[in-house]
Amino acid sequence: MLSSYLTPETTLFAEDVDGWRDAIARVSAPLLASGAIGQEYIDAMVSSIAAGGTYIDLGYGIALAHSRPENGVVRTGLSSLRVTPAVLLNDDPAHPIDLFFCLAATDPNGHLQTMMELANLLSDDELRTRLLAAHNAAEVATVINENGTTK
């Protein structure tokens, strides 16, 4: 479940982040600290973004940073970071990001329930707007819990 991954420890907020590399380092820090990923996973994400991997931009100022399981995933994990002001992904003006997620997946299908909830949450106009407007982890948790009850 989404709420078991996005906890007060993994739901982060930051002001004046120093570019997208700093944002990736910050959003992945809780997963690194908990042992869900190794440093190589962060390096792999940064490398793929630097190589033009703006595919992690989902739209609406939201990015889902992730790499492949073999690049250092120990167990499934998810974290988020709301940045103010927005950060340009790969310094590209076409990709301003307000909200970063970091996904660590152990295999392509094993996190189905979590991805279903995340897709539902981010694709719902009202919930997404409220998620982007949340100021702290408690407000994010409220939105996530409502997401769980709507579907």
């Binding site: 793929s48 033009g52 991997g53 703006t54 595919y55 992690i56 931009d57 989902l58 739209g59 609406y60 939201i62 889902l64 992730h66 790499s67 492949r68 399981p69 996904l103 997946a105 295999d107 392509p108 299908n109 996190h111 189905l112 991805m115 279903m116 995340l118 897709a119 539902n120 981010l122 694709s123 719902d124 997404r128």
Partner: protein, 100 residues
Amino acid sequence: MKFLAVCSSGLGSSFMIHMNIDKVLKELGVTGVDVDHTDVGAVARGDADAFFVGRDLEEATNTLDNVVVLNSIIDLGELRTKVREQLEAKGIAIPEGDAA
């Protein structure tokens, strides 16, 4: 009938597109469409009847046929329109013709 969502890693964006296609098909009341997700390195022409990708993969997938490019991975309105177009192009009946 098969729809395949494709992204670079095969488990992030493509998984979300897959989930959203499932949701749209359910809304439309359409059954019998197989949906899955994979990475761009593993996909080949003929693997599906339509391939759904984010706009950043438009060039990388230009060897496939019938590629549907999405401006946003999480714009359900856009996906709804494009899934409907694919279904209509394939002659698949849409029970909920005016579903929101």
